[in-house]
């Protein structure tokens, strides 16, 4: 494709892209995000292409692989355009049916439609599915429509329009003012106002010999929280939106070089972003003299090496510079001294992507969404014990109740909600009583949790909160960089104490020690990881103290999770002697002959729970 030398040429190309695509032409878009790929999206794509070939319609029907549509629970999912028919759990075997329906006047394939479990109604389009209907999709709006590997697709849906707008007549000051006015706050979790960060960065820096001020911008895509995959899905599904935001940032801040720091564990995101950068360079949207306006900006892709702490901004900067990925004390903040000692703005993937939308549609449009202090939409990955696992984009200020019951479809297997863990390992557990809590930065912090990058793990009553706290502490003990003493030693001590409590060896004084340690880590740790590491423990202590006390005083795990405190038994009256449990027991701990009641040898039992799962008459009891 020829290089674009002016904004007019960009608009011409967009017009050509729109004209070149027939809106009435059938198009099958299959989600090829990580979740659907795991469920067999690749096979489905191949089968669809084959089926289209078979009916000889390859000239008339498009088959596209797109980024994540969000409804991972029902994967693989696909959409049939132009109607936007939504199919879920589509297997390769159904590919021929889908193609046949498209050929025969778009009569939907009944068996692939989503059935609302509450009303029993079949939903034809995404808008009718309750999971999507309650969302406000801004960042993820185009994920189901465009092929992330085609810049023309992005241009067709209005991509890079904001770059044209900014370069065509806005001053850098005006851009910063727009971002400030929109009320956008950092989507990485801490919620620092983005506009303020940009102004602070602009105020710093000394001109070099050529009279230029060297500044850098970074996109933080080192998403490491267990259960979080928003940044990943955005980079996989719409990488150009992030690049677009960064070009605007480069213009506003006078940066000539940008970095995207992605985890190496996200190969698809790395691949798609790499393709997107290359395409943008070919079109002249990155490089020297962008769109003939004299702006120079390049993006380098840097891959992380698997350290959770590198998501912390100073550690990330050290890693980009080629040093050990360990945090540094702030101040000086990156806006004063960042990469190579120069003023640097570092923002999350979703923040950069939001910038393009804000510039395009105006600050007022953005600030109308959300609450007084938290504006715009936030993307959550809804996982755990919930019916509708997936990616959810909602306006700030939505209640937890709406999130879990209306969008998430409630808790499976008739169990009840116990807690929601928000914000990854640095976040906290919010109990079921606070289900009417509005989700925004202030309310979550007040409840002892934090927004974090947006992981949301739902837990039901079969979850032991002490065990949850222990799990997160184990994760953080491994991921603490070990540089500063309170974080390194504190996580170790906390894990030791929690393990002790889980094994029934805890003392009541341990709770005071946990409280003290939590306070110490929060107040004195060097970086954000240590300062927030105690949150899971402190919140569970605050809301589920009784559960801790049950472990300590009564040596009982109320949720029947902690192995040292539970015992498996077979009820002699309920057991029908089928022998199913004997077969699955790896430790040969189950004794007894066929048609006679079985018995568990406690000395051999490893409490794996395999017998519990296979027992039809529910004779295996946990006490």
């Amino acid at each position: 494709m020829p290089r674009l030398n002016s904004i007019e040429q960009l608009e011409k190309l967009r017009a050509a892209c729109i004209a070149g695509s027939d809106v009435k032409r059938p198009c099958l878009t299959v989600c090829a995000g990580s979740g659907c790929s795991a469920a067999g999206a690749e096979d489905l794509l191949t089968a669809l292409r084959k089926a289209v070939d078979k009916v000889g319609m390859q000239e008339k029907i498009d088959v596209k692989s797109t980024g994540c549509h969000g409804f991972c629970e029902r994967g693989p999912v696909m959409l049939v355009w132009p109607e936007g028919t939504f199919y879920n759990r589509v297997t390769a075997a159904s590919a021929a049916d889908v193609v046949a329906s498209v050929c025969n006047g778009h009569k939907p394939v009944e068996k692939l439609l989503y059935k609302d479990p509450v009303s029993g109604k079949k939903c034809l389009t995404e808008e009718e599915v309750p999971f999507y209907a309650r969302q406000t999709r801004v960042l993820f709006a185009n994920n189901g429509r465009i092929d992330p590997k085609q810049i023309t697709d992005y241009l067709r849906v209005g991509g890079y329009a904001s770059v044209g707008k900014v370069l065509g007549g806005m001053t850098p000051e005006k851009v910063v003012e727009t971002v400030t006015k929109s009320g956008l706050r950092g989507r990485g979790g801490a919620g620092f106002p983005t506009g303020m960060k940009w102004s602070l960065c602009r105020a710093n820096g000394k001109p070099n010999g050529h009279g230029d001020i060297e500044r850098y911008i970074i996109c933080n895509a080192d998403e490491g929280d267990p259960g979080a995959f928003m940044d990943r899905s955005l980079l996989e599904g719409n990488p150009h939106s992030v690049i677009e935001g960064m070009i605007i940032g480069a213009f506003a801040l006078g940066a000539k070089q940008g970095f995207v720091y992605v985890r190496a564990e996200y190969p698809l995101a790395v691949k798609h972003l790499g393709i997107a950068i290359k395409q943008a360079e070919e079109l002249g949207l990155l490089g020297d003299n962008i769109l003939g306006t004299g702006l120079s900006f390049r993006i380098r892709l840097v891959q992380g090496a698997g350290a959770f702490v590198c998501g912390e901004e100073t550690a990330l900067i050290a890693s980009i510079e080629g040093r050990v990925g360990e945090p540094h004390p702030r101040p000086p903040y990156p806006v004063e001294k960042g990469v190579f000692g120069k003023p640097t703005v570092i923002n999350n993937v979703k923040t950069w992507a939001s910038v393009a939308h804000i510039v395009n549609r105006g600050a007022d449009w953005y600030s109308a969404i959300g609450t007084e202090k938290s504006k715009g939409t936030m993307v959550f990955s809804l996982v755990g014990k919930i019916n509708n696992t997936g990616l959810v984009e909602v306006p700030m200020g939505i209640t937890l109740h709406e999130m879990i019951y209306d969008i998430g479809g409630g808790i499976p297997n008739g169990r009840s909600l116990k807690a929601v863990q928000i914000g990854g390992p640095s976040g906290g557990c919010i109990p079921a009583d606070l289900v009417d809590l509005k989700i925004d930065y202030e309310q979550l912090t007040q409840a002892g949790s934090m927004m974090g990058s947006g992981g949301m793990v739902v837990m039901d009553d079969s979850t032991c909160m002490v065990d949850v706290a222990r799990y997160f502490m184990e994760f953080l003990e491994e991921e603490s960089c070990g540089q500063c003493f309170p974080c390194r030693q504190g996580t170790q001590e906390m894990k030791a104490i929690l393990t002790r409590i889980c094994e029934g060896r805890g003392k009541e004084e341990d709770l005071d020690i946990l409280q003290d340690l939590g306070w110490l880590m929060k107040e004195t740790s060097l970086c954000g990881l240590g300062q927030t590491a105690a949150n899971p423990v402190l919140t569970t202590l605050r809301y589920f103290r009784n559960e801790y006390l049950a472990h300590i005083r009564d040596e009982v795990c109320p949720a029947k999770v902690c192995k040292k405190l539970i015992m498996y038994e077979i009820s002699p009256t309920m057991c029908d002697g089928c022998g199913a449990c004997v077969k699955v027991c790896a430790g040969t701990a189950i004794l007894g002959e066929k048609d006679h009641a079985h018995k568990i040898d406690q000395a051999k039992c490893t409490k794996c729970g395999a017998c519990l799962e296979v027992c039809q008459p529910k004779a295996v009891l946990v006490s």
């Binding site: 702490v309 004390p329 491994e478 603490s480 960089c481 390194r488 030693q489 110490l520 107040e523």
Partner: protein
């Protein structure tokens, strides 16, 4: 020239001075384990945390003084209740990590740590990084560094083989705040338990209030009659020379 207040005292310092240097300039006591005047600070031990409020935003936080550049309008408190609590909890954790260190012992005693609620780990390193930094920044060798992460982190050599960059100068040993004064006494002159100097009769452990986290040093292990044969004055003289 930044002008700041430390414990209510106004002080004006050269630009680039850290808060720790400003505090020490005023002669106020502040504990440190990872600071050395000739080395770049990394803020690892966190013992020098002070309560800082900025006039600009009114927020009060605990920050490590050694890595904090003195800024105009800072209000620093080195001995507030929060600072004392943090120091005490930190030192308690330090005592659990390296119970045999004389330096940590003394600090714990000085800042009123009267109990240790954790199991002793008997590690011989608190990873203050002084050895690594002195090797790199003063000896210009860079023969040692950190490897691993979290609780696997340790001071080590490349591939665990002594590097030919190492001149065996011993600076690392000199810099170490923890192992340097490990009591390895077989003779009274190298006995380093301060109890021998400050108390008579000698052994610390016979006092309820005073605490000794050390394994009894040679001098302490000596039984009464033998102990009394060591003249305290002579011992003091031997140690001070």
């Amino acid at each position: 020239m930044p002008k700041l207040r430390i414990n209510g005292i106004s002080v004006e310092v050269e630009p680039g001075t850290t808060v720790l240097e400003s505090i020490r300039f005023l002669g106020l006591p502040i504990p440190t384990l990872c600071h050395d005047d000739g080395l770049r600070d990394i803020g690892a031990c966190r013992l020098c945390v002070v309560e800082v409020s900025m006039a600009a935003n009114g927020r009060t936080r605990l920050l490590s003084a050694c890595t904090l550049p003195a800024q105009d309008g800072m209000d620093v408190r080195t001995n507030s209740a929060t600072v004392q609590k943090a120091r005490k909890l930190l030192l308690e954790l330090y005592v659990a990590t390296c119970p045999q260190s004389k330096r940590i012992q003394d600090l714990a005693s000085e800042y009123g740590v009267r109990q240790c609620r954790y199991d002793a780990h008997n590690e011989n390193c608190i990873q203050c990084g002084l050895c690594v930094r002195i090797c790199e920044q003063q000896m210009m060798a860079g023969a040692i560094g950190f490897s691993g992460r979290g609780h696997h982190r340790r001071v080590s050599r490349p591939f665990d083989i002594t590097s030919d960059k190492c001149r065996q100068c011993g600076a690392c040993l000199y810099a170490c705040p923890v192992c340097e004064l490990r009591c390895q006494a077989s003779t009274a002159t190298t006995a380093l338990c301060s109890g021998c100097l400050n108390f008579a009769p000698v052994c610390f452990q016979s006092y309820d209030d005073a605490m000794c986290f050390l394994e009894p040093c040679h001098a302490c292990e000596l039984t009464g009659p033998i102990r009394s044969e060591i003249p305290i004055k002579k011992l003091k003289k031997a140690l001070s020379s």
